[in-house]
Symmetry: C2
Subunit: 477 residues, 2 copies
């Protein structure tokens, strides 16, 4: 019997450095690995998304569209893959449909092949237009299930959601586990359920490694029929990142599955990034494994956000109360998955509830969430809280797709960009400004200076360490 080939999506150029070093890796630290990445035999190379786009223009003075074109040139044999937040594109609000179409068209033109389309609330209506746009330019539209755990989320529910995504034309389904909550048994059950229900459609599984258990989940997903899994080269893996690519290869050796990856190239990629990673040490968190989320259901990033909010109010000792409030707020909102932006919205409201009384003060975002402006959640909303949201905001609840309320805006966006110093006249620039209006204008002004790196040289690191430690030492003695 021949082993079944399992595809691998290598994450090092996008999610790995996003998760491990706040998306700070400079293009100059990636280019030398691209030939090996291109020829190692990956199903796809993920290399673009909201945070990479944001970090490029905010911290690295680098044009993200140019980054994409460079990847395209350096990896001619690879499927390039991106993460697209449905109707939000790479930004933080809903965009009118024509903007969505423009963005997809331009991304494809600049070299993108696979669009993993997701919505924080798993509302298919927020993914539909982006998926249709991807299909109309002839690229790969991947519909996404954001995995979470709640009283209303069930294996059957995820299987139904996969069906809705397939009805919308998804060429493949991604099971996306951003909080490393996906345990082996549900991983098996969901993948098997989708295959049993809809036939042999391609399933990609994306897990983080935070809880230390998800390589087993990938194994079970593969046994259940998963076709492609996501990993990151070992020198850029683990902790809040992903399972190591070489460990996946080792995991499947001798089984009925194989990756057929070129191990020599993997080792070169590994060695390359082993040299890069220390230069970004200041952006790394210390967490190696964190299983708290299984009991708290609160992702680590959300927890630290709430802690800083409390500390800023001199109420750092009330984190336990807030942690107990989060599940109530989440339930009131209809059990949204806790992922950007719903994690921030629910977390901040939980902090407000503890500090000022339950829903005495509601954030504008939380009111919008309660009133349907982000889309529909799987659970029922608490009608009392909906009423409070209406009263506090004087807005009505909606049931239509949020973007249906938007008027055509492409013309306005073009006009806004045209006024900016350094605008290069391209539709790419219009889109950049549309998605990051607070950052793009400054970037356009400084773009001509070229990319800069925030990596530290070994000498810089040693010198800074010395200065800091000397200061600390003087404080002690």
């Amino acid at each position: 019997m021949t082993a079944r080939k399992i595809g691998v999506t290598e994450l090092v150029l996008r999610d790995a450095h996003q998760s491990l070093m706040a998306t700070r890796m400079a293009m100059e630290d990636m280019v030398d690995a691209c030939e090996d990445l291109d020829k190692a035999g990956f199903w796809s190379v993920e290399c673009w998304g909201g945070a990479t786009f944001d970090a490029c223009i905010r911290f690295l003075n680098e044009d993200p569209w140019k980054r994409l074109r460079t990847f395209r040139e350096l990896m001619p044999n690879s499927r390039l893959q991106m993460l697209l937040r449905g109707q939000n594109l790479l930004g933080y609000r809903h965009y009118e449909d024509m903007v969505v179409e423009k963005f997809v068209e331009k991304s494809a033109e600049n070299g993108m092949d696979v669009f993993r389309v997701f919505d924080a609330l798993n509302d298919p209506r927020n993914m539909a237009r982006a998926m249709a746009a991807v299909k109309s330019v002839g690229k790969h539209a991947q519909g996404t299930i954001c995995y979470t755990v709640s009283p209303v989320h069930t294996v059957d529910g995820y299987i139904r959601l996969a069906g809705q995504l397939l009805d919308m034309g998804a060429e493949s389904i991604a099971l996306k586990d951003m909080a490393a909550l996906l345990q082996p048994q549900p991983a098996f059950d969901i993948v098997k359920g989708i295959k049993d229900t809809y036939g042999d459609i391609q399933i990609n599984v994306h897990c983080h490694s935070t809880t230390g258990v998800t390589l087993v989940s990938l194994m079970k997903a593969i046994e259940a029929g998963a076709d492609v899994v996501d990993t990151a080269i070992s020198s850029m893996s683990l902790g809040p990142g992903h399972n190591p690519t070489e460990s996946l290869v080792a995991m499947l050796e001798g089984t009925d599955y194989t990756t057929d990856l070129d191990m020599e190239r993997l080792l070169r990629i590994r060695d390359h990034f082993a040299g890069v990673r220390p230069k970004y040490k200041e952006f790394e968190s210390a967490t190696l494994v964190d299983t708290d989320i299984f009991s708290s259901q609160i992702p680590g990033g959300m927890l630290s956000n709430m802690e800083s909010q409390l500390k800023a109010q001199g109420a750092g000792d009330r984190i336990r109360e807030v942690m107990e409030e989060v599940p109530r707020v989440k339930a009131d909102a209809g059990h949204p998955p806790l992922v950007t932006p719903s994690s921030q919205i629910v977390g901040t409201q939980a902090v407000f509830n503890v500090l000022m009384g339950r829903y005495k003060v509601m954030t504008g975002e939380f009111a919008d969430l309660m009133l349907g402006y982000y889309g529909e959640c799987l659970g029922e909303r608490n009608e009392e809280v909906v009423a409070l949201a209406k009263a506090q905001t004087k807005k009505e609840a909606i049931t239509v797709r949020p973007a249906d309320l938007l008027k055509p805006e492409w013309g306005e966006l073009e006009a806004a960009a045209a006024k900016l110093e350094g605008f290069d006249g391209s539709e790419e620039d219009v889109l950049t400004n549309a998605m990051f209006p607070g950052v793009a204008p400054k970037f356009f002004q400084t773009r001509a200076e070229g990319p800069k790196s925030v990596a530290k040289t070994p000498a810089q690191m040693a010198a800074e360490k010395a200065d800091k430690a000397t200061a600390a030492h003087q404080g002690i003695t």
Copy 2:
């Protein structure tokens, strides 16, 4: 259907700090966790072995027998477990049988319950006497398979070895994977093979996490019928250590297996050691995941040993040659598993071969290995190299059990100990000096001063960092 209960051996008190921080953890950093360890529901708590014994008397001025008695007192409900190097006991040579019996008797008397008996070469004759001794004092004798990968090591061979251990009276079988080489499929095949061949005898599986893949191996071993698996609490896990205990619990949730561990106690144990670990940072290595061993077959510790040996000879650039020489030397010796002491013996000979020509100079230890003085390996030895060993050492090859050549030595050992300043007259002290003759005399002299900790306080750490960094800074500027 009720889930099958999987036992867990918690490693934090022995192998975890041995693997992560050179066995340096002081007793004072463990006692506060003992109540939770005792009541969390573990199958056993591993807490004693050669390196802990050695570190106690060499670095911590602590009596290892007293440590054992303290554990016994603090964990009255638990099986205490130790790792015992067969006829070597906890030392580095073979001991005569009566010494083996004395050691086992005293260990049991002081509180030990489960003796995991192993031999670096997997030679059952080197385990037989220790196993018999354990059985004769009514304790649990666990026979061990050291897992390695070589042209002569096969699943069937491991199954046969299990049979030999059972014939010797093993109450359970441990599959011990010190180098994290055990991939999921062989883990499944070996466990299933043993169960199919010998019936439902207890199988314990011990894996390190170095290669990032072995939690999956534990899952497959469990599916094949394994009864107990070894893990370490998450705050003392991963890298060259072990898979996290909480991740194992999460792994089995919803499956046909359960650990029934008390999660609240686990979290308290975790938090306790999360506070302890940073104090021993200077003893930690930086490696998070290392998959090199799958291609090189050379454990990380062995590789760094050879590198230092080469550097000491001004030949640091010849490590590639040495790495290519290792498999040849290993084959010549009949494919011993590369674990202490065979890893050092093979590694040093490989270095000698590269620097001085193949077997031009043979170490005494390597000659002994070739002549059978460590026991039998699975493969055939290279007869030409055996002849060279005879010629260089003027010794004959042996085929008997090495300890059969030893004369009764207990009386001599007693006499030797009696001469030492600070000897307390106990058989425990005789054994301590017998196993660590180079360290025990000094320890007996200073024992009265009581245990000392090599942990750093936060203030100490900051101060030292400042001194070091200042020095580095001055070197740079």
